[in-house]
Symmetry: C2
Subunit: 132 residues, 2 copies
Protein backbone atom coordinates (compact mmCIF):
# COMPACT_ATOMS: atom_id res chain seq x y z
CA UNK A 1 0.00 0.00 0.00
CA UNK A 2 1.54 3.35 -1.03
CA UNK A 3 1.19 6.14 1.49
CA UNK A 4 -1.04 9.06 0.60
CA UNK A 5 0.91 12.00 -0.78
CA UNK A 6 0.74 14.80 1.77
CA UNK A 7 -0.08 17.94 -0.23
CA UNK A 8 1.74 21.22 0.50
CA UNK A 9 -0.86 23.37 2.16
CA UNK A 10 -1.75 26.31 -0.08
CA UNK A 11 -1.97 29.82 1.39
CA UNK A 12 -5.47 30.27 2.80
CA UNK A 13 -7.47 32.06 0.13
CA UNK A 14 -9.91 34.94 0.49
CA UNK A 15 -12.57 33.90 2.99
CA UNK A 16 -15.22 36.34 1.78
CA UNK A 17 -15.18 38.06 5.17
CA UNK A 18 -13.28 41.17 4.03
CA UNK A 19 -15.76 42.92 1.67
CA UNK A 20 -18.44 43.31 4.38
CA UNK A 21 -15.78 45.07 6.49
CA UNK A 22 -15.49 47.78 3.84
CA UNK A 23 -19.24 48.39 4.23
CA UNK A 24 -18.82 48.51 8.00
CA UNK A 25 -15.95 51.02 7.62
CA UNK A 26 -18.09 53.22 5.37
CA UNK A 27 -20.75 53.22 8.10
CA UNK A 28 -18.16 54.08 10.79
CA UNK A 29 -16.75 56.86 8.62
CA UNK A 30 -20.20 58.37 8.12
CA UNK A 31 -20.69 58.33 11.89
CA UNK A 32 -17.31 60.07 12.35
CA UNK A 33 -18.31 62.81 9.90
CA UNK A 34 -21.78 63.26 11.38
CA UNK A 35 -21.12 62.92 15.12
CA UNK A 36 -17.31 63.04 15.60
CA UNK A 37 -17.47 59.53 17.12
CA UNK A 38 -14.35 57.38 16.60
CA UNK A 39 -14.48 53.58 16.23
CA UNK A 40 -12.07 50.66 15.90
CA UNK A 41 -12.10 47.27 14.12
CA UNK A 42 -9.91 44.69 15.88
CA UNK A 43 -8.60 42.73 12.89
CA UNK A 44 -7.00 40.10 15.15
CA UNK A 45 -10.44 39.26 16.58
CA UNK A 46 -12.07 38.68 13.15
CA UNK A 47 -11.97 35.48 11.05
CA UNK A 48 -9.65 36.91 8.38
CA UNK A 49 -6.97 35.07 6.40
CA UNK A 50 -3.64 36.75 5.52
CA UNK A 51 -5.05 37.04 1.98
CA UNK A 52 -8.09 38.90 3.38
CA UNK A 53 -5.80 41.35 5.21
CA UNK A 54 -3.72 41.95 2.06
CA UNK A 55 -6.91 42.50 0.04
CA UNK A 56 -8.28 44.99 2.61
CA UNK A 57 -5.00 46.87 2.86
CA UNK A 58 -4.69 47.12 -0.91
CA UNK A 59 -8.30 48.30 -1.31
CA UNK A 60 -7.84 50.99 1.35
CA UNK A 61 -4.59 52.22 -0.22
CA UNK A 62 -1.91 54.50 1.19
CA UNK A 63 -2.56 58.01 2.49
CA UNK A 64 -0.35 61.02 3.25
CA UNK A 65 0.36 60.48 6.95
CA UNK A 66 2.47 57.75 8.58
CA UNK A 67 3.49 57.69 12.23
CA UNK A 68 5.47 55.46 14.54
CA UNK A 69 5.32 55.24 18.33
CA UNK A 70 8.15 53.55 20.24
CA UNK A 71 6.82 52.19 23.53
CA UNK A 72 7.63 48.60 24.48
CA UNK A 73 7.81 47.70 20.79
CA UNK A 74 6.88 49.78 17.78
CA UNK A 75 3.35 50.74 16.81
CA UNK A 76 2.69 52.09 13.33
CA UNK A 77 -0.23 54.28 12.29
CA UNK A 78 -0.63 54.51 8.53
CA UNK A 79 -3.34 56.69 7.13
CA UNK A 80 -5.08 54.96 4.24
CA UNK A 81 -6.19 56.63 1.02
CA UNK A 82 -9.51 57.18 2.85
CA UNK A 83 -8.66 60.06 5.22
CA UNK A 84 -9.89 59.21 8.72
CA UNK A 85 -9.22 55.47 8.21
CA UNK A 86 -5.90 54.36 9.80
CA UNK A 87 -4.18 50.99 9.59
CA UNK A 88 -2.63 50.33 13.00
CA UNK A 89 -0.08 47.60 13.78
CA UNK A 90 1.34 46.95 17.26
CA UNK A 91 4.58 44.94 17.58
CA UNK A 92 6.34 43.64 20.67
CA UNK A 93 10.00 44.36 21.47
CA UNK A 94 11.02 41.42 19.24
CA UNK A 95 9.18 42.97 16.27
CA UNK A 96 6.38 40.38 16.17
CA UNK A 97 2.93 41.71 15.27
CA UNK A 98 0.77 41.36 18.38
CA UNK A 99 -2.35 43.23 17.25
CA UNK A 100 -3.76 44.89 14.16
CA UNK A 101 -6.58 47.40 14.03
CA UNK A 102 -8.34 49.70 11.63
CA UNK A 103 -9.10 52.94 13.45
CA UNK A 104 -11.72 55.35 12.15
CA UNK A 105 -10.83 58.69 13.71
CA UNK A 106 -9.47 62.13 12.83
CA UNK A 107 -6.19 61.28 14.57
CA UNK A 108 -5.31 58.15 16.58
CA UNK A 109 -5.38 58.77 20.32
CA UNK A 110 -1.88 57.30 20.78
CA UNK A 111 -0.34 60.09 18.65
CA UNK A 112 -1.55 62.72 21.14
CA UNK A 113 0.65 63.73 24.05
CA UNK A 114 -1.34 62.85 27.21
CA UNK A 115 -1.97 66.01 29.32
CA UNK A 116 -0.33 64.44 32.40
CA UNK A 117 2.82 63.74 30.33
CA UNK A 118 2.84 67.34 29.08
CA UNK A 119 2.65 68.56 32.68
CA UNK A 120 5.61 66.29 33.51
CA UNK A 121 7.40 67.64 30.41
CA UNK A 122 7.07 71.17 31.83
CA UNK A 123 9.05 70.07 34.88
CA UNK A 124 11.64 68.31 32.69
CA UNK A 125 12.14 71.57 30.79
CA UNK A 126 12.44 73.56 34.05
CA UNK A 127 15.24 71.19 35.13
CA UNK A 128 17.01 71.68 31.78
CA UNK A 129 16.75 75.46 32.19
CA UNK A 130 18.01 75.38 35.79
CA UNK A 131 21.12 73.57 34.54
CA UNK A 132 22.00 76.19 31.92
CA UNK B 1 53.81 91.68 -1.35
CA UNK B 2 52.42 88.26 -0.41
CA UNK B 3 48.65 87.95 -0.55
CA UNK B 4 46.77 87.62 2.71
CA UNK B 5 45.96 84.05 3.53
CA UNK B 6 42.20 83.63 3.26
CA UNK B 7 41.16 81.75 6.36
CA UNK B 8 38.65 78.86 6.10
CA UNK B 9 35.50 80.22 7.67
CA UNK B 10 34.70 78.36 10.89
CA UNK B 11 31.15 77.10 11.52
CA UNK B 12 29.15 79.90 13.13
CA UNK B 13 29.25 79.24 16.86
CA UNK B 14 26.45 79.42 19.42
CA UNK B 15 24.94 82.89 19.25
CA UNK B 16 23.47 82.84 22.74
CA UNK B 17 19.97 83.12 21.29
CA UNK B 18 18.95 79.51 21.93
CA UNK B 19 18.81 79.30 25.78
CA UNK B 20 16.12 82.02 26.05
CA UNK B 21 14.01 79.94 23.62
CA UNK B 22 13.95 77.08 26.14
CA UNK B 23 12.47 79.52 28.68
CA UNK B 24 9.91 80.64 26.10
CA UNK B 25 9.02 77.00 25.36
CA UNK B 26 8.52 76.30 29.09
CA UNK B 27 6.11 79.26 29.19
CA UNK B 28 4.24 77.99 26.09
CA UNK B 29 4.05 74.49 27.58
CA UNK B 30 2.58 75.83 30.83
CA UNK B 31 -0.05 77.69 28.78
CA UNK B 32 -0.86 74.46 26.89
CA UNK B 33 -1.35 72.58 30.17
CA UNK B 34 -3.41 75.35 31.78
CA UNK B 35 -5.55 76.55 28.85
CA UNK B 36 -5.13 73.98 26.03
CA UNK B 37 -3.74 76.77 23.83
CA UNK B 38 -1.20 75.62 21.19
CA UNK B 39 1.70 77.82 20.01
CA UNK B 40 4.50 77.73 17.45
CA UNK B 41 8.07 79.03 17.24
CA UNK B 42 9.19 79.72 13.66
CA UNK B 43 12.87 78.77 13.85
CA UNK B 44 13.52 80.10 10.33
CA UNK B 45 12.43 83.57 11.44
CA UNK B 46 14.79 83.70 14.45
CA UNK B 47 18.49 84.70 14.45
CA UNK B 48 19.78 81.17 15.10
CA UNK B 49 22.98 79.59 13.79
CA UNK B 50 23.10 75.91 12.75
CA UNK B 51 25.00 75.33 16.03
CA UNK B 52 22.10 76.93 17.94
CA UNK B 53 19.63 74.60 16.21
CA UNK B 54 21.78 71.54 17.00
CA UNK B 55 22.06 72.65 20.63
CA UNK B 56 18.28 73.17 20.94
CA UNK B 57 17.49 69.85 19.30
CA UNK B 58 19.93 67.99 21.53
CA UNK B 59 18.61 69.69 24.68
CA UNK B 60 15.00 68.83 23.78
CA UNK B 61 15.90 65.19 23.03
CA UNK B 62 13.91 62.52 21.22
CA UNK B 63 10.43 61.40 22.24
CA UNK B 64 8.27 58.37 21.45
CA UNK B 65 6.30 59.64 18.45
CA UNK B 66 7.57 60.41 14.94
CA UNK B 67 5.35 61.16 11.96
CA UNK B 68 5.78 61.99 8.29
CA UNK B 69 3.35 63.73 5.96
CA UNK B 70 3.84 63.47 2.19
CA UNK B 71 2.28 66.50 0.51
CA UNK B 72 4.34 68.44 -2.03
CA UNK B 73 7.51 67.40 -0.24
CA UNK B 74 7.89 65.64 3.10
CA UNK B 75 7.11 67.17 6.47
CA UNK B 76 8.38 65.46 9.61
CA UNK B 77 6.93 65.83 13.09
CA UNK B 78 9.22 64.49 15.79
CA UNK B 79 8.04 64.57 19.35
CA UNK B 80 10.85 65.68 21.65
CA UNK B 81 11.61 64.20 25.07
CA UNK B 82 9.27 66.93 26.39
CA UNK B 83 5.81 65.57 25.47
CA UNK B 84 3.79 68.31 23.79
CA UNK B 85 6.91 69.84 22.19
CA UNK B 86 7.33 68.79 18.52
CA UNK B 87 10.21 69.49 16.16
CA UNK B 88 8.71 70.13 12.73
CA UNK B 89 10.64 70.26 9.43
CA UNK B 90 9.05 71.01 6.06
CA UNK B 91 10.93 70.04 2.88
CA UNK B 92 10.13 70.78 -0.74
CA UNK B 93 9.86 68.11 -3.45
CA UNK B 94 13.66 68.26 -3.92
CA UNK B 95 14.20 67.46 -0.22
CA UNK B 96 15.48 70.93 0.73
CA UNK B 97 14.42 72.21 4.15
CA UNK B 98 12.09 75.15 3.54
CA UNK B 99 10.88 75.79 7.10
CA UNK B 100 11.52 74.60 10.63
CA UNK B 101 9.23 75.05 13.62
CA UNK B 102 8.86 73.98 17.20
CA UNK B 103 5.19 73.32 17.84
CA UNK B 104 3.81 73.22 21.38
CA UNK B 105 0.60 71.24 21.12
CA UNK B 106 -0.95 67.90 22.09
CA UNK B 107 -0.83 66.78 18.45
CA UNK B 108 0.21 68.81 15.39
CA UNK B 109 -2.78 69.96 13.35
CA UNK B 110 -1.31 68.54 10.10
CA UNK B 111 -1.51 64.97 11.48
CA UNK B 112 -5.29 65.25 11.79
CA UNK B 113 -7.52 64.25 8.88
CA UNK B 114 -9.45 67.41 7.90
CA UNK B 115 -13.25 66.82 8.26
CA UNK B 116 -13.86 67.78 4.62
CA UNK B 117 -11.31 65.16 3.51
CA UNK B 118 -12.98 62.53 5.69
CA UNK B 119 -16.32 63.34 4.05
CA UNK B 120 -14.66 62.93 0.63
CA UNK B 121 -13.11 59.66 1.88
CA UNK B 122 -16.63 58.37 2.61
CA UNK B 123 -17.50 58.82 -1.05
CA UNK B 124 -14.24 57.16 -2.14
CA UNK B 125 -15.13 54.14 -0.01
CA UNK B 126 -18.66 54.03 -1.46
CA UNK B 127 -17.15 53.88 -4.96
CA UNK B 128 -14.84 51.02 -3.87
CA UNK B 129 -17.83 49.14 -2.46
CA UNK B 130 -19.94 49.70 -5.58
CA UNK B 131 -17.14 48.11 -7.64
CA UNK B 132 -17.03 44.88 -5.56
Amino acid sequence: MTPDIIPIEPAPPLSGNAPPLLRELAEMLRRLVNTGESATLDLSALPLTPADLDWLREKLGQGEVAAQVQAEGESTFDETACPGVWWVTHRNTRGTVVAQFIEVTFVPELLKAPPQDVAAGCEHLEVLISEL
